[in-house]
Amino acid sequence: MTGAATLLVVLRQPERLAVLSAPEQEFTLRLARRAGLLGPLQHGLERSGLLETLPAPIRDGLEGGRVVADSRERAILWEVDRLERAFFGTGLPVILLKGAAYAALGLPLARGRLMADIDILLPRADLPQAERALQKHGWLTATSDPYDQHYYREWMHELPPMRHCHRPTELDIHHAILPRTGRLQPDSALLLQEVIPLPGRPGVWTLAPVDMVLHAMVQLFHDSDFGANALRDLLDLDGLLRHYGPTPGFGDRLLARGRELNLTAPLHAALYFLERFCQTPVPGHEPPGWLLRGLITLAMLPDHPDPRRDGTSVRLARWCLYVRSHWLRMPPGLLVTHLTRKGLRRWKQHVWHRRGV
């Protein structure tokens, strides 16, 4: 079994880690660290009562990852609290997306999940008011570069990232789930119509479960380059479907909503790979074309704890998927201009930026 396959098995059945040889345990731990999955693994082992049976260095490595993940979760939930305060009295809703929503809902998949930033959704018309409210409460836009500002405001589905002046967590404010210049344009109004209040927290909302699933699917299978977080994102989907899937009629509603939002292609691709990699129970679906199937199969799983030691075919597949994600993001003319600008900027930094001793 390859390292990544072992990692997938261990994440589903933590007890399997205990029976691996010491070098296999270490390799699995390193892969989990690279994929940002130490936290969920530690939680799983703790729940199954097996932590104490592991050798001390493995236990310590897992604990270190858990401590970081727990602190990130605390930070994100604190941001939710601060956002409630910033939007209080403005009539603006705090609609949580992705990790913040999973954590606020207390979903099992949120345990130990390594969260980077907080994402919220607002109607596009409300963005100026939201920006003013946030600025008044100490949030600043993280980039002042005019091109970056233009890029986000004109073409993207989110504002330039903001950050509170006293806290490191980045806040992404979305008005849609895909870029305005992209091939697919799911209607945000449909998502906003179905948001669900968070129990006991007036003013805080999440997407409806089917929409949460679709959003996560679109992110990974339409708008991602299958980089560092791909496996974590796949496991999010696995967790969401295992949690919400058993609700009667969920599968049918998911497929119908996918059609309604014009997201059938990423939905079917996601269902195919979930069944294949995670044995997730999923509704009937069409497998994606052979090329995409091949590329994603190669790119999804980390080969080695050192990213540079991934196989050549794996790196090539990731590069193809990186190109694909950009291709899906923007029309070709705009894409060429954008990549040229980005490339030039990187080149300039490389040439002019001298590293000190």
Partner: protein, 303 residues
């Protein structure tokens, strides 16, 4: 077997091999690959007493000192610090591989070892009673730490107080003490027999030379110690050594402020610092002469 038992040639060969060279440093097993001329001899000097670890034991860190393949391999050559792949650390000139490794190892611990409360302090001990010297860079922490271990205190660490929140004990991590600029001459004058590595000029902290950890401290590296005294040093040229007791509430804030990962630890960090505050006595120490400071601290330990 100890690293010092290998010849320099054998150390070089093992460092350059695919598996690298692994040894136990306090609670960690570190595996290092390095293909850097002259590095093996310096490593043997500073880590000679550390126990080699054979392939098959679990490693905590996979580190590498990597030379780039492009222009910088040949022209003003550089070396990169890596941990399971590239890190954020800026490269150093190739002949500064040793300070890069020492700082890189610190970086590795600071980013990964969050199962400990990581205090930014030098730690020395008498038996199993530990003295912590928290301090900002330039406070004289390393100089005082070096002076204490040259006068018989056991070295736990020059950089990290590794506190286990579950046990309240400090884990030793005896490694070299990085002396900077004027302290190098001060320590050479304080103890002419002190064993120092080469001087590395023009690093980001000025000139650095590493004092070899006492062999007895390395041999005792698996014996934890309990925190008893916390002394914040402040070097002041020409000042007489003076030890001023501090109230405990100040002590709590000092420790919480001093830990690299206090916020990250959340509630258990608060509990660990509370427990430590209850167990410790706190002092401010102003000193101009390391000998006087050592005499004061010897007196504190004897009282």
């Amino acid at each position: 077997m100890k690293i010092g038992a290998l010849t320099t040639g054998e150390t070089t060969r093992r460092l350059a091999s695919a598996d690298g060279l692994a040894w136990r440093a306090g609670p960690f097993v570190v595996r290092l690959r390095a293909d850097v001329p002259g590095f093996a001899g310096q490593l043997r000097l500073l880590y000679g007493e550390h126990r080699l670890v054979e392939t098959g034991e679990t490693n905590d860190f996979h580190l590498e000192l990597a030379r780039p393949w492009g222009l910088r391999r040949w022209w003003r050559p550089k070396v990169f610090f890596e941990m399971d792949g590239p890190t954020r650390m800026a490269p150093f000139p190739l002949d500064h591989a040793l300070p890069l490794f020492e700082w890189g190892f610190n970086y590795a611990i600071a980013t990964r070892a969050n199962h400990y409360l990581l205090l930014h302090a030098a730690v020395v001990a008498q038996g199993e009673r530990a003295l912590l010297l928290p301090g900002l860079p330039g406070s004289g922490k390393s100089t005082l730490c070096a002076a204490l271990v040259l006068r018989g205190w056991r070295l736990l660490s020059d950089e990290f107080g590794l506190l286990r929140p579950s046990s309240g004990l400090l884990a030793p991590l005896p490694r070299s003490i990085a002396l900077k600029n004027a302290s190098i001459a001060v320590i050479r004058a304080f103890e002419p027999s002190a064993v120092l590595g080469p001087e590395f000029p023009k690093t980001r902290k000025g000139t650095v030379a590493h004092l070899r950890p006492p062999p007895e401290s390395v041999r005792a590296q698996e014996q934890g110690a309990r925190p008893v005294w916390v002394v914040s040093p402040r070097f002041e040229a020409g000042a007489a050594a003076r030890l001023v007791p501090l109230p405990r509430d100040h002590g709590f804030l000092r420790l919480a402020h001093n830990a690299f990962n206090y916020e990250l630890q959340g509630e258990r960090g608060f509990r660990a610092v509370t427990r430590m505050t209850r167990a410790c006595r706190f002092f401010d120490l102003t000193f101009g002469d390391p000998g006087e400071a050592v005499a004061l601290l010897d007196g504190l330990a004897a009282s």
